[in-house]
Symmetry: C2
Subunit: 359 residues, 2 copies
DNA sequence: GGCGACCGCTTGATCGTTCCAATGACACCA
DNA sequence: TGGTGTCATTGGAACGATCAAGCGGTCGCC
């Protein structure tokens, strides 16, 4: 027996292929001469074991290359250690990279917390924004959701709340006032107004006084929030905003048109935009007119997308601290899944400004 | 009994919240007056049931809002219906959007095939490229993997093959020649050479004759493959390539430097690049010298990233058919997981050219 | 008339883990 | 000595689904 045991140790490096059934708790237990439950404890509550028993069990686990079967564990504990996140259709023709960066951060962060990220998409056929959530929830495929598109009027948050489904929103609950001022669910968000204020102040410090705004339509709360930072910064220095703002769709073409009109009507020397996409529209207009961004006209975008980072001469942009958002989201999720659960936490983070050649 | 039954039907719209334990197979069976197995068959093999029994069971399923418990099903069938995909660290300062677009397509496609996508990241501490795979595999958390970074020397494919782990590679097996000419695993790839040939021909048709190449270092098989398309197109028209090529790191700065050197030494009228990142470097150089892309010098990139789509005046770029790649990957995965498994299929797809203002 | 195949459905066993209650061993204290 | 308590460990029973075998009944075939 010692002989074969040594053989096994020597084989740790080259573990057997998985073509055969993987070892189970019972296999480990038998090898270590203990019961199944003791092996389970060695993994989940090591301090319950006597030190010598623990080492013996761990040695067996290592020798056999054992990992707990997730399905069995999930079945028993009624938890999957999976976080569901729905991704919308890929946006082409825009500079929207927020979600991709966030997904990366979320995957990294949740791994450290022992969670994996399950991506899903809504059914192609239906435009129902709840599509996908329902099924994953009822089949107990995920423990919780991360909801990212919490624009006003989005039914997801309300629906999930009603279902008592654990979820954390990336995006503040914009309709909180109507509900009595306090959200019933947890959320994490970035202070967009602070970002645009930062951007506008940066331009003011550079000597600009006529700073235009290109943002989204008025029904976008996020857009209006970002716009308020621009207003605040200008009014703070006693400068007017009249005639310097435009609200359009979030496309390059819209940004191009809006900036062309503004240049003609108000002669601004700088633009602050609600997105990098709109800012790229401004760069198009500048190119059309033979103007150089950063020399003749300054431009600032929002999101610090890849586009902002690589476009000549570099687009100054408000950068959301997505890594930190992910950390806060996971922290909130752990709170939700704890016993007893911690609900209704809200965290607001502050963006930074990535300064580049365009300003 | 009919009365309560009707009540239940009326309540289909407003399903009960999930705060209580969800219904199980047994609940449905009891309500429908059949056995558990019959309910199971109603879901997995409907044609085994008599039509009237089937409708009765389905009605019960609907009334109770039943969905099979994933964990229990996974445990019994030894399948998770999850596809694992590792994502690398987010690349900042580049235009590499291939993976994000691919992830979207993969999520969409695999949903239709009944699979979800599980994202994971390598352990931050270790640089071991196998980190993460091992654990997911042994714990039977995923049915198969999609491997995306199959550059030469990458140990993942070999390791997974050795483990008999089902996986499909996005990227051809570059070392196949050394292994006897035929890959033992399934793969899907895009013909990069065809893409650059397409791009170069496009420039030739526009009248360009001195077309430069900016690609990656020689040890990159992908880079050399893409380069060969440029060579082939030029030689096909009897044009020389000498002195017109540069091989550098995949960064904007490298592309900028390389294009500056080439402009000085060889006066090309057009550039074909191995990536949009490098192409952006060229745009930087053009801006530095007061030249306009698409008017004085033509530029073509590779990947059709968001950057290419929004940068003024639009960057012509080779577009990989990632939606189709995803479809082929999922098809191959279904083959792998079938009984008996279908292994070793290889699919090569052809890219297209998205023509924009830069050419 | 006898044999086998098929139909539609049921029953008991099983997947691999964790929860629960109970076990024996041992130390402590009265 | 006996009671009490803690510690380390154990065996049995879930968790909720599918698999495998088998039920009685009907049909077709030689």
């Amino acid at each position: 027996m010692p002989q074969s045991s040594e053989d096994a140790i020597g084989r740790i490096e080259a573990r057997p292929p998985l073509s055969v059934t993987p070892p189970t708790l019972a296999d480990v237990a038998e090898r270590a001469g203990v019961s199944r439950q003791t092996v389970s404890n060695a993994i989940n509550n090591p301090d319950l074991l006597r030190p010598d028993t623990l080492t013996r069990v761990l040695e067996s686990i290592d020798a056999l290359g054992y990992s707990p079967n997730r399905a069995a564990r999930n079945l028993r504990t009624r938890a999957s250690h999976l976080i569901g996140m729905r991704i919308g259709p890929a946006q082409e023709g825009t500079a929207n990279a927020t979600m991709d960066r966030f997904v990366h951060s979320l995957v990294d962060t949740s791994r450290e917390a022992g969670y994996h990220v399950l991506l899903f998409a809504g059914a192609e056929s239906s435009t129902n924004p709840l599509s996908g959530y329902d099924d994953l929830l009822r089949s107990t495929a995920v423990d919780a959701f991360v909801v990212t598109d919490t624009y006003l009027g989005n039914p997801q948050a309300a629906w999930l709340e009603e279902r008592r489904a654990p979820f954390v929103a990336f995006g503040r609950p914009w309709d909180a006032q109507q509900n009595g001022g306090r959200a019933r669910h947890s959320w994490v968000d970035v202070d967009g107004a602070a970002g645009t204020e930062l951007a506008t102040r940066h331009l003011l410090d550079k000597g600009h006084e006529r700073i235009a705004w290109i943002g989204w339509r008025k029904d976008s709360r996020i857009g209006e929030d970002r716009r308020s930072g621009w207003t605040r910064a200008l009014h703070g220095r006693g400068l007017p905003t009249t005639g310097l703002a435009s609200r359009v769709e979030d496309t390059v073409a819209s940004g191009r048109e809006a900036s062309a009109h503004l240049l003609d009507s108000a002669q601004p020397s700088a633009f602050v935009c609600a997105s990098d996409t709109l800012a790229m529209g401004v760069l198009h207009t500048l190119r059309d007119r033979g103007l150089r961004a950063g020399e003749h006209v300054a431009v600032v975008g929002f999101d610090d997308s890849q586009v902002a980072q690589v476009v000549p001469p570099g687009l100054t942009s408000v950068r959301q601290p997505l890594e930190q958002v992910a950390v806060e989201v996971v922290t909130a999720l752990e709170g939700l899944l704890a016993h007893p659960p911690v609900v209704g936490t809200g965290v607001m983070l502050v963006p930074t400004l990535a300064v580049r050649g365009s300003s």
